[in-house]
């Protein structure tokens, strides 16, 4: 044995409660195996039995974490790294585990009333893959080894792709193939970087690598390749060709999981990579580049979302914008020491991920109920739906408000933390992007609600009425997102300056009005489908002015849409992947 292994560090020893980490992976996997073998009628039963169990384990980990010192660790097979593999839960893992469990729980409640028993193929696939996604995500949140994370990423992809084409139409099959191939390109690039890291440092353990890593060029190549590969899997613009058709074409419960949870898996590995494995490597320019892409994603995703005719595509494009929002934290967490620090900005970014997970899942579920009831989801045809499905529309509105940053939502807290960090780091331009992101979110939420709350042009004959439990599960998830700001995050995330306490005051009210009013304005200017109420309002003398401005802005938004179409071509998207890898490589090399 080498001397280094003689006295293993604290993070290479199993801590009390470590077995919970094993269980949180093993329980969903057991569910997959059981559901597979029991099959055709029992898969839903198995899944519904596993869900509360998994929820309890996640809760137990959350409770166990702050009591101990440092992370909860489990050394698999009693073989400490670098020979073996460790599972580790720190604050970031704990909050992601909990959020995942909550979303899975709500989606399971929704889907239990959704897929009828006769559809054996759909039901069999959905329930097993739901459990598989859960197991894969938990492995990603807990895995302490880069190769284990690779296997978990593949697990996640293999579970997500069949969900895209559950209905078996040509269009969704096409979306699934493009998703699979692009995701495979992403994971190969990730694996390539892993190879180089092993060649350089002789370990893939995250903690050991974090200690050994330096800034030599080969490590930079590895970092650039891995980051880009993961970005492709996260669908950050311009690597988003697969996301809109995949997320819009799947059944509602599957879309909720894909949009709310699956993209967070690769995002979480980027966070691990940049904050835990190589905080000193990326440097200032790479963080600016990453957030710059995020800014582009916000504008492109929101503008194209406003131009969609269908609700589910609008929500899918809104996911693109929100993914962009997640990457704004990187420059704001870049400290004076030249390293990424786990600071308020990181806490803000994670909170944004969690509130998006809950809110976006709720939005897709609400859209699913609307589609099932109306038989279509054209935004212009939403009139009267507020009367038939008040709970679903309320859930949509609440999750939209939560995403905009209405207090006390999680996104509100996230935005406050990020704005605080932007002020501290004197990077005012990100404050502008943060505010703009809220306004854009406001725009498409207002657009949908304005149509949903008008009266129907002709009486609607609902195809079927949504079961109450489905609507309630959606509402619960939306409320959850809106209440996230009340959770004591300080125990899990590093929030140096404390949580902004002014959640209900005048200041908060003002912050709430900006995205709402600004959003309404943007929606009037940029949405080709006019808002229903402004046509008959008394602003007649203003009409010519607004109309001419509107024509101009519509023309520019058409250009953005054309740009989106261009970027979503296969060769262009792949070339973007390689270009980004090169850009990240050059900017990281330049930093040292």
């Amino acid at each position: 044995m080498l001397p280094a292994a003689a006295a293993p560090a604290l993070d290479a020893m199993t801590s009390t409660g470590g077995f919970l980490l094993v269980l949180s992976i093993v329980v969903p996997v057991t569910g997959v195996l059981l559901a597979f073998i029991l099959g055709d009628q029992y898969e839903r039963l198995v899944a519904c039995a596993i869900v509360p169990f998994g929820l309890a384990i996640a809760a137990a980990i959350v409770v166990a974490l702050p009591q101990g010192n440092g992370p909860v660790v489990y050394v698999l097979g009693a073989w400490p790294p670098p020979l073996g593999i460790a599972l580790r839960a720190d604050g970031l893992s704990a909050v992601m585990l909990a959020a995942t469990a909550v979303v899975i729980c709500a989606v399971a409640a929704f889907a239990a009333a959704d897929f009828s028993i006769t559809e054996t193929r759909v039901s069999f696939t959905f329930w097993i893959l739901l459990l598989a996604i859960w197991g894969a995500l938990n492995t990603i949140f807990l895995g302490g080894d880069l190769f284990t994370l690779y296997v978990a990423l593949e697990l996640l992809t293999f579970a997500a792709v069949p969900l895209v084409c559950l209905d078996g139409r040509g269009e969704t099959l096409r979306a699934a193939i493009r998703y699979l191939l692009f995701a495979l390109l992403g994971s190969v690039l990730y694996l390539l970087g892993t190879t180089l890291l092993y060649g350089l440092y002789g370990t893939l353990d995250i903690v050991l690598l974090g200690r050994r890593i330096d800034t030599q060029p080969a490590a930079v190549v590895a970092a650039a390749l891995m980051t880009t590969g993961l970005l492709a899997k996260t669908a950050l613009v311009p690597l988003h060709l697969w996301l809109p058709p995949a997320h819009a074409g799947a059944p509602a419960a599957a879309s909720a999981i894909l949009s709310g949870l699956v993209v967070k898996g690769s995002f979480f590995i980027i966070v691990r990579l940049w904050f835990n494995v190589m905080p000193g490597l990326p440097g200032f320019i790479a963080t600016q580049l990453l957030a710059g892409l995020g800014g582009v994603a916000i504008v492109l995703g929101s503008v194209v979302a406003l131009r969609q005719e269908r609700l589910k595509l609008l929500i899918a494009y809104s996911t693109l914008a929100q993914i962009g929002y997640l990457f704004l934290m990187f420059p704001l967490a870049f400290g004076a020491s030249g390293r990424l620090e786990s600071s308020g900005a990181l806490a803000g970014g994670l909170l944004q991920a969690i509130s998006h997970a809950t809110a976006k899942a709720a939005m897709f579920l609400a859209a699913g109920s609307i589609y099932a009831t109306l038989g279509q989801d054209r935004i212009l045809g939403l009139g009267g739906v507020g009367r038939i499905l008040p709970i679903s529309v309320l859930a949509f509105a609440l999750s939209g408000l939560a995403l905009m940053g209405l207090p006390p939502g999680g996104a509100y807290l996230a935005k406050e933390l990020l704005l605080q960090a932007a002020a501290e780091k004197e990077q005012w331009w990100w404050a502008v992007v943060l505010q703009a992101g809220g306004v854009f979110t406001g725009a498409y939420v207002v657009l949908v609600l304005a149509h949903a709350l008008t009266a129907a042009k002709e009486p609607i004959t609902p195809d079927s009425s949504a079961p109450r439990i489905r609507e309630l599960a959606t509402l619960a998830l939306a409320l959850c997102s809106l209440m996230l700001g009340l959770v004591p995050w300080e125990a899990y995330l590093s929030i140096p300056n404390g949580v902004p306490s002014d959640k209900f005051g005048i200041g908060a009210l003002f912050k709430m009005l900006l995205p709402l009013l600004g959003g309404t304005g943007v929606a009037i200017l940029l949405a080709p489908s006019k808002l229903p109420s402004w046509r008959r309002s008394g602003w007649n003398e203003l009409m010519p002015v607004i109309s001419s401005v509107r024509r101009g802005s519509l023309a520019s938004s058409a250009i953005v849409e054309a740009g989106d179409k261009f970027l979503r071509q296969w060769p262009i998207a792949c070339i973007s992947v390689l270009t980004l890898a090169a850009l990240f490589g050059v900017s990281m090399l330049g930093a040292h």
Partner: protein, 114 residues
Amino acid sequence: MTSGATVFGLCAAVAVGLGLYGLITNPQPLRKIIAFNVLGSGVFLLFGVVGRRGAAAGIGNDPVPQALVITGVVVAFAATALAIALLLRLFQKTGTTTLCSDVRPSACSDPSGD
């Protein structure tokens, strides 16, 4: 450093380049899948070179990279099988295998009946 590692390291890098080029430019999805396999084999070879350089204790190639590659090869095979099954189904359903990126809202957003 053994010479084999240098030669095959270069070979692996070129295979990765070839695979990437094929993946980008070949319009046929099946050709993209083949290119992905070439790309993957390049990555695995690189792992093999890393392991070869780490030969020690009487073992000619560090067993950890070997084990990782075996896992990776099986995962890549499963991915190929899934991709081909999707492709065959698409062909069966629509009579073409084009992945044309033109996603018109009317064609694509029509969500499945729940």
